[in-house]
Structure formats: C-alpha cells, structure tokens
C-alpha cells in the first residue's frame, strides 16, 4: 500500500505531499524535471554521472534535474521529441515562430510571464524579455547587456577640433557637421577626399539611430489605431527626406550603395575618409589598430544619439530573442515550477555567474588572491557547469566590450560611449512578432524595402512617390494578411 502511494506521488500527483514520515521520504521523492537544452560546447557534452556541478544544482533547486544537452543536432532532436508528443518541462528555442505557434495554440507551452514575480534576479532583467506573443513573455532568454548595440554614434574628435565644431546633438546639427566634414577639408590635407556620414549599402548599418530620431522605433507601429510596417509611418518619410538632403549635399558616402558593411567599416577605421559612423563601439579598437597607427592624432569617440525635430532619439537595444520555454505540464505542477524558477533565478544571480564561469569552489577552482580564481581545467571541462544554466546576470555597462588588450584610452572611449547612450536604449518588442505570411517572403520583403530605401536616399525615388512603394509592398507580399497576423500576435 505504501509502495503504491509513493509510486503515485513520484509520478503525476506529486502536488499532494505524501503522508507519513515527511522528512525522510520527501528527500527521496524529489520531483523530477526534464530539461532539453542546446549548447555550443567547446569541450563536448558534459558527463552526467558523478557530475558535481549537476549535483549542486539539484541541491540548490531541491529537485531531480535531468538534462539532455545537444550541440548542432539540437534543433532536430527537439523537433523529433515534440513531434512524438513528449514535451520536455523546459526546452530551448529561438523566437516565437511557426514551430511554436501550434504548441501555443494547443496550450502545450505557456508563457513564463506570470511566474517571474518574486524572483528578484529575474525581475531585475524583465525588461530584456522582449519575445512576446499576444503580450505575454514566453521564453526567458540568456540576456546580455542591451547597450551592446549596433547604433552607437561615433565621430572623429580631431576633425571636430580642427574645424572648431562641437559634437552634434540634433539631426540639424548632425547635418551641419556632416556637411562641414565634406566641404571644409577636416583632415587638412588640402584635397577634397572626405565626407560626413558612412553607411553600408548592403544592410544600411548605421541608419537605425537616425530613423529613431524621426520616431521610427519599432518594426511594426500603430498609427490611427491601425498596425503598419515601420516604412509606412510618417516619421519614416521624414527620415527619407532628411537622408535625401544629406546625400544630395554629398554629406553621405557617394558610393554607399556599392559599399558593403566591411568596406564601410574600413573607410572609417582604416582609410579615415568618413567622420561619422553609427556602429558597435568596438570599432574604436579597430581604429586604434588601423588609422591611429599611421595618424596618431586621430581620435574616434562616441557621442550621444541625436534628437530629431520632435525630440525623439534612440538606439536599438540588443536583446536575445530566443530562450527557455515552459511546458504546460511543468507549469501546472507547483513543485516542478518552483524548481524551474529557482534554476532560472540562480542562473541570473551573481552566484550563478561564478558557478557558470568557474564552477564550485574547491571542486572546479580554488579561490586565489584578489578575487582571482585558479581553474581546475580538467574537472571543469568534464563537468561543464555553464552548460546547465540558461540565464545570466546582466553584465555591468562599464564592462561591456572592454578589451583589455587594447589601450586604456580606447577602453575608456568605449566605456563612455556606452554610458552616455544608455538612457536612449529602445526596446523593440514588435521585432519578434510572428506572421506566417511574412515568414514565407521575409527575405524578399526585406530586400524590396532595402533596395527602395537606398534608391530614395539617392534621390531616385521622390518622397511623394513613397506611397506607391508601400502600396506595391502590400500588393506584392500579401501585406494585408501580414499586418493582420502581426496585429493578432501583439
């Protein structure tokens, strides 16, 4: 009889605490949680037997955690697993897409959103959980500091100094400075070989912070109660007119349409032909290794994102779109759920970071002086503690992209560029919205808009004609359907 009872509680009905000798039996009948995770493992999959890291996590969460971890084949593995009707309690996937939608509709997976409350480490980073479906946070992502943005504005300080100018703060000032960089020979070599702004023609890298200055800050926007793609908004038209003016005045690289992102970067950090570039702050390091080697006076520094005519300003926050998803069965089992939330919360704590980076003290590492640790490499590699966690605390802004092999000055420039732009981060929650109609034409649609945006910047499409471009987009890609599906998943 006792045997049957305990068997029952071990299986489905474990929410009822087993009667009888509570203390001892509870320990034996820990709830079992099944994780399905992917990993780009440098040392191969961890051994599960006698794994001290795993044992520690089991102790930490008070549950019998079981992990299946795969490398490249992960996607196939999880597809087969779920197709066979077996949904792991927690599994990893990218953003909400046509693989997950049927599972959401069948209520086989549920949002994490209602369960985050009360877990301080997760609450602290909740703003970065931007992958939503119908307004609910579904996956808990392995977050990064969102300031690792691709839109950090960078400018040649030595050029500004030579021309007696200040770093621009508005789009109009940016226009003036870019024009001066083009016309007034900022490098003082007597030839007309410079221009203001560098952008790349294959992906228009560096234009998003300008779009945001004109209020275009999401992929999908609402105007007059209707969902529209960003390129249909009024702000986008203002942005195009602004860019057209810059290009006409020669303030943008005249060759940008045939300049891919690598060439574009080189024109700034090696050739020193452009003075303004919106990109990763790490370009400063390449500048140090490139142009500064031949021209030690050259300085590439960050400046604040410029504000537009209505005071809008922003840079795109860098967030991870995928993460850990929760099965309905796990959510309905309080003990399982508690273990899962503890697991996530621990990963997002500072202790979790230490565990991830260096494992357990006296097992995987020895504590050395000044907080340094001495890694026991072979044990660390065998147990691979980091493979068992899927969350992390946010890196401090002053640490993002700090490369200690570069000069102190460059590190400080990166630090400052990040710090001054942190207030302007914009989180786009519409980027991860799903539309089946869009998925089948996504690349074509992106290319269509990209090509026409470039043509418009170069003045080959008049701003008044942009409506035709938008109308053609609707006709060509079944736009009404796409917009409707996006609105439904909002």
């Amino acid at each position: 009889m006792v045997l049957i009872l305990s068997a029952c509680s071990g299986g489905g009905a474990s929410d009822q605490p087993p009667a009888g000798k509570a203390g001892e039996t509870e320990k034996e009948e820990r709830v079992s949680v099944h994780f399905f995770l992917s990993s780009s493992l440098p040392y191969g999959t961890p051994t599960m037997e006698n794994n001290k890291a795993l044992a520690f996590l089991r102790e930490q969460t008070g549950a019998d955690l079981n992990f299946e971890i795969y490398e490249q084949i992960y996607e196939d593995k999880i597809r087969v697993k779920i197709a066979s009707g077996e949904i792991p309690d927690v599994f990893e996937w990218g953003k909400v897409d046509d693989f997950l939608i049927p599972l959401i509709q069948a209520e086989a997976i549920v949002p994490f959103e209602p369960y985050i409350e009360g877990y301080a480490n997760l609450e602290a980073q909740q703003q970065l959980y931007t992958t939503k479906y119908q307004g609910q946070i579904y996956p808990i992502p392995d977050v990064r500091n969102p300031i690792a943005s691709q839109d950090i504005p960078l400018i040649r300080q030595d050029w500004l100094d030579r021309l007696g100018l200040d770093a621009p703060t508005t789009t109009e000032e940016l226009y003036e400075v870019a024009k001066a960089f083009t016309d007034d020979d900022p490098d003082g070599n007597g030839t007309d070989d410079t221009y203001g702004i560098q952008i790349a023609g294959n992906n228009l890298d560096g234009t998003w912070s300008l779009k945001m200055a004109f209020g275009v800050d999401n992929q999908w926007m609402e105007e007059d109660g209707k969902v529209i793609p960003y390129f249909e908004s009024a702000g986008y038209r203002d942005y195009l007119a602004y860019m057209q003016r810059l290009f006409r005045e020669g303030a943008i690289d005249p060759d940008f349409a045939v300049t891919d992102h690598i060439l574009a970067q080189n024109k700034v950090v090696v050739e020193g032909r452009a003075g303004i570039f919106m990109h990763y702050a790490t370009r400063v390091y390449e500048f140090e290794d490139g142009l500064q080697k031949s021209n030690p006076d050259a300085r590439l520094v960050g400046f604040e994102a410029v504000s537009g005519p209505d005071g809008d300003r922003g840079i795109r926050a860098r967030v991870n779109e995928g993460g850990a998803y929760l099965s309905k069965d796990a959510a309905e089992n309080p003990r399982k759920l508690e273990a899962i939330m503890k697991w996530l919360d621990f990963g997002a704590s500072q202790a979790g970071k230490v565990f991830r980076d260096s494992g357990l003290v006296d097992v995987h590492h020895k504590a050395g002086q000044d907080g340094n640790v001495e890694l026991n490499q072979s044990v660390f590699e065998r147990d691979s503690p980091w493979a068992f966690l899927n969350t992390a605390p946010i890196q401090d802004t002053s640490e993002v992209y700090i490369d200690r092999s570069k000069s102190e000055e460059s590190q400080n420039i990166v630090r400052e560029a990040h710090a001054m732009n942190e207030p302007y981060l914009v989180y786009d929650e519409t980027k991860t919205l799903f539309s089946e109609a869009l998925t089948s034409v996504a690349t074509e649609s992106d290319q269509y808009i990209l090509d026409r945006e470039i043509q418009a910047i170069m003045g080959q499409i008049a701003i008044e004609k942009w409506d035709d471009v938008v109308q053609e987009w609707y006709a060509r890609f079944n736009g009404e359907q796409i917009v409707q599906e996006i609105a439904e998943s909002m």
């Binding site: 197709a83 349409a257 045939v258 034409v441 290319q447 026409r452």
Partner: protein, 318 residues
Amino acid sequence: MKEAARLHTASFAQRRSGIWRRAGRRLIMDRYMYLLALPGLIYYFIFHYLPMLGITIAFQDYNAFLGFSGSDWVGFKHFERLFSHPDFWLVFRNTMMISLLNIVFFFPTPIALALMLNELRISLYKRVLQTLLYLPHFLSWVVICILTITLMSSTGFVTHMIQWLGFDVQPLLDKSLFWGIITIQSIWKDAGWGTIIFLAALAGINPDLYEAATMDGANRWQQMRFITVPSIMSTIVILLILRLGQILNLSFDQLYIMGNAIVRDVAEVFDTYVYKVGVVQGNFSFATAVGIFKSVIGLLLVLGTNYLSRKTSEHSLF
C-alpha cells in the same frame, strides 16, 4: 504447323540463351576491364542518378523534418508561384540578356585568341602570353568584383578616366552599363582559359594540309580561312551547343556581388533570385522547381540546336 511453332520457339529460346551465354563469356573474359569501370559507374549512380530522385521535392511542400515520404504533395504549386511572381519576366529577361551577350561576345573571344596564338612564331613569347591569359581564371569572382568596385567607385581610376573623357557617369550605379560590365568581366576572367580547348583542336590538324596549301600558293590568311577554321568547326559547334544548355545558368558569385539596390532591376537573375527566395528563406521546394525549369529550358535548347545543326551541317553532338 504445331511442330513448326514448337521448333521456332525452341530455336528462339536457344538463340536467346546464346546471347546471354555470349554476354556472360565476354563479362568473364573482360572482367578486369569491367572491374576498372565499376568505381566510375558507382560514382555516377550515387552522385548523379540517385540525387535525381530529389527533384520530387519540387512537387512537394518539402519539410526537412518530415522527409521525402512525409511531406505533402502539392503538384505544380511551386511552378505556378514562379510563373506568377511579379518579377518573373524581369528575372527571365535579365538572365537571357546576360547569357546572350555572353554567347555573342564572350564565346567567340577564345576562338579568336586561339587563332591568334596559333599564328605566333616565337614559342617562348607564345607560352608567356598563354600563361598571362590563363591567370585571371584562377582569381575568384569575389576578388575580381571587389577590384571592379574599387576601380569604378566615385574615386576610382576608371571613373576618373571616363569623367576626364567628358562623360558624367558612375559606372556601378548606371543601369545601362551593368550588362556590359558583367560581360567584360566574364571575358577578362575566362577568355584566356577558354582557349585551351581550341588550341588542343588546332594542334590536332594534320600539318600535311598546310604543306599542301603552301605548295598551292595559299597565304597565311587563306590557310587560316580554308584549313584552320573548317578543321575546328565541329569543336566550335559542339561547344556552342553545350553552352546553350547552360543558358539560364550564370555565375552566382559575380552577379550577387555586382548587384546593388540601384541596378537591381537589371541585375537580378535566376541564380541570385533562387538564393534569396529559395535558400535563405528555407524554401527548398521552390528552389528545386526553379532548377528544374532552368534545366528543361536548357535541354530544349540543346536538342533544338543540335537538330538544326544536324540538318544544316555535318556537325552535331549526337
């Protein structure tokens, strides 16, 4: 009557078994020859014939996860999508135009080059020249295209030359120049390499013919016209027919890199289009359907020109 029939059947059976016996005997006699051929046969079977089963996915909504057997059959859906696509005729026109320019300008160049090389007397000079002509073939398209972009950007050497001559154009951003640039690039890269096969054909011409022609008083020009060109004519025709089979296949790398937003209307060809629509979006069925379409057009052209050539001249592929 019955007897006769019986006899006939018997003799037929006898004859048939005779054929098999003889075939078997030959197989045993030449067993080492067949053994030698076996790896080649296996290679063709595994790598050329077996994958052809893959064309079935053009008629399915292929899902890598479900496999060939599990994916839904959709008939000609992907072909319909191709033909009804708003850009289909644009892509078709660009592909045909670039291909035709290639055939008109690129195809004869190696023949002319080979004939000229053939007339050179100093063998060292000839060999150095040949090597120089082959070299560009070994550069990748990426290198050649980046070189072109550098030379033809607004600050590039070629652009300066053109502007110095009084034309106000930006070659890379001019739709009317795009096909020309692509053709010149192809010629620069591969014309020298293309001479190899013609030089081989030229080397195969019987020297007695030239000797006899000299005796008859033919000059160099007449020798070329009446001996050299007719002798390599069958090579030219066969290569032309084979080239027509590839009419919808262009160099993906070249057009992908040279294409940009401004010239997209003249630069999009089937290869780049399939890459964007089929491969990047993971729509393998559609990509396969386009592949079949290209092959069918190529096959029709090969059969058609081969037929015409057989009717009008003695040269043909089969």
